[in-house]
Structures are given as C-alpha cells and as structure tokens.
Amino acid sequence: MKRFKTLFTAFVISFSIMSFAQKEKTGEPIKENTEKKGYQVGDLATDFQLKNIDGKMVSLKDFTDAKGFIVVFTCNHCPYAKSYEERITELDKIYKQYGYPVIAINPNDPKVQPQDGFKGMVTRAKDKGFTFPYLVDEGQKIYPQYGATKTPHVFVLQKEADKNVVKYIGAIDNNYENASEATEHYVKAAVDALIKGEPIKTTKTVAIGCTIKVKK
C-alpha cells in the first residue's frame, strides 16, 4: 500500500507538472479555483437595502453609531437555524451595546420553502422575541455576494473608514444541539477580539446547516 501511495503521488506530481507545462506551452491561463464564490476574510462586504419584518427598508449605513455588524443568514424552517434563534438574540443583546448589532437576513426563496415567506418571518420574530432586524433577501441578490451557502451562516463585519470589512465567516459555536455544551464560541470570540482590538483567533469555520433554497 505504501509503495502504491508513493507511486501514486509520483504519478500525480508528474502529471501536474506535465499539465502545467502543457498549459504554459499553449499560453492558456492556469485556471483559478472558481468554485469558491463570495467573501473571504478581509474582503469588503456590500451594503444592501432590504425589507425588514416591519415593512421598512434597512441598510447597514443606517447604523451610524455601529462599529460593525453580526450579519446572520437564517430562516424560519431550518432545524439548525431554529436551534440557534435564542443564541442569535443573545448575541444581539450582548453586542449591540458595544456597537455590533445583529442583522438577520432570510435568503430562502419562499416559493421553494413556503415556511420562509414574509408572513412566516413576522410570526417567527414575534414568537421568538427577535431584538434585531430580520430582513428579506428579495430576489436573492445579497446572499450570493456574501457567499452564504446555508442557514445559519454568520459574517462578522468591522467598520473601517466607512467600509465594512469581513472579519469572520462561519458558525456561531460548535454545538448546534445544545448551547450549554458548546466549547467553542466562535462569533463571541471574534467580536470580543474586535472590541479589544486584538486579532481574531479563528476567522473561518464550517458547520452543518440547511442549504439555501434557490428560486428554480
């Protein structure tokens, strides 16, 4: 097996060199990995104007006193998102006073997932006592720019010279099932670091979530 692995590695290396040389010869540009779309940590995040559950339009620029934002792509129906609702409210309650409010955005197409329609959002927010804006990504234009792939999916932003810089992408913590058993609190740690002006230890995490429902 070891010998096979070595052989295989050698084969892969020589093949990559060959294909690299080939591309050089034909002058073809070497393809970048285009599969990854959306923001990476350090990118500038776009502002938006999206409808809130109270019918008013909300933009990041409206929050003149904010130092940054905890942007959470979430929805009504997804069990992973639902299990984080209280924690999202808690994040807003803690960090709004430090200038980092939660902005929740529902990216799902209600035609694909009827529970994620506007009425459902209003009811959900009321039932769960959301203290933050819960916006509709109408036309599904914002979530692809951010590169959100699932709910919940968090982007922590920091205002720098009136631009919003992406500082953290990923999960809220490492236990969707039980908040009290989480041992890593990624979003809290990231925002705490921003408040203290320290570097963020973990800037990117992944976790299981519900795929964003795209209009067909």
Binding site: E35, K36, P79, Q113, T149, K150, H153, G170, A171, N174, N175, Y176, E177, E181, A182, T183, E184, T205, V206, A207, I208, G209, C210, T211, I212, K213
Partner: protein, 162 residues
C-alpha cells in the same frame, strides 16, 4: 415435489432476506466513519450525507434508492447514507428507513462538536450544507457533489467511475 417445495422456500426465504431492512443504525465518530469508508477500498463507494430534517435530502433519496437497486448486485458498488440526525433522533431514522424503504446502508455520524474538524476533511470546499454526495473509487475520493443530485447525474457519475 419435495425439491420443488424446497426451491420455493428457498426463493421465499431469499426474497424475505432481500426485503429485510436495517433494524438498527450504528452511531459513529468521524474516525470510525473514515474506517468504514476505507473498508470499501475495492469498490466505487457512494456516500450521501443527509438528515431526516433536511427537505432536499429527503427529496433526492427515492432516486438514490432506485439507483442503489440498480447497482447493488454489482460487487464493485456500494452506497452508504450518512445520517446527520441527532443521536436522540435515532429511532426517527430507523422509522424513516422502514417508511421510505431505504435499502442502502445507513449510519449515523454522531460528532456534532467537531464539525469544523471533519467537514473540511471530507472536502475543503464543503461549507456544511446538505445534501452532499461523495464518490470514492478504491478508497480515493473521485467526485464531490455539492447539493442535490438528479437520478441521471447520480447514474452518470457512477457509470463514469465504476
């Protein structure tokens, strides 16, 4: 006549055996799942990550079962469905196997605290959205399918790699 009866019983027994579904779901950590995958390192292995709570996953499973029925007698083919349901919902998964007649092997990955460890190990481009389907040929990953898969896509990917 005796022979005939014998054969009849044999056929009945066989069909009963065929129709028998998994009655328990083994729960495992990431390392055990990796070992389970590596055990099939002489086959084309289709690994589908799903959950009973995930609508698009549940939607694509009937097509996966049609394809599994088509290929399951091929000794070079194997399908494993990795449930990401909570351990306390194991009974729900067992009921789901019965109700939806899931003929492929089902295991439950009980490792939610280390998602940030094992998700990137399966594929560096996987953000954790489900469903995803990974194809292994002789123990090496040959294809990562991000999202739902149609019956045709699934069958084509199998035929291409079998």
């Amino acid at each position: 006549m005796k022979n005939f009866l014998g054969i009849l019983f044999l056929i009945m027994g066989l069909s009963f055996y065929q129709a028998q579904l998994q009655e328990d779901v083994p729960m495992m950590k990431y390392e055990e799942l990796e070992e389970r995958i590596q055990k099939e390192n002489d086959k084309l292995l289709v690994v589908n990550f799903w959950s009973t709570t995930c609508a698009p996953c549940v939607k694509e499973l009937p097509d996966f079962m049609i394809i599994n029925e088509k290929f399951k007698n091929n000794p070079n083919f194997k399908m494993i469905l990795v449930s990401l349901d909570r351990p306390k919902d194991k009974e729900k998964v067992i009921q789901f196997i019965k109700k939806r007649n899931l003929t492929a092997e089902v295991v439950l990955l009980d490792d939610i605290k280390r998602m940030n460890t094992w998700i990137p190990k399966f594929d560096k481009n996987w953000e954790g959205n489900i469903p995803v389907t990974i194809f292994y040929k002789n123990g090496e990953k040959v294809h990562f399918n991000d999202g739902e898969m149609s019956k045709e896509e699934l069958e084509n990917t199998i035929n291409k790699n079998l």
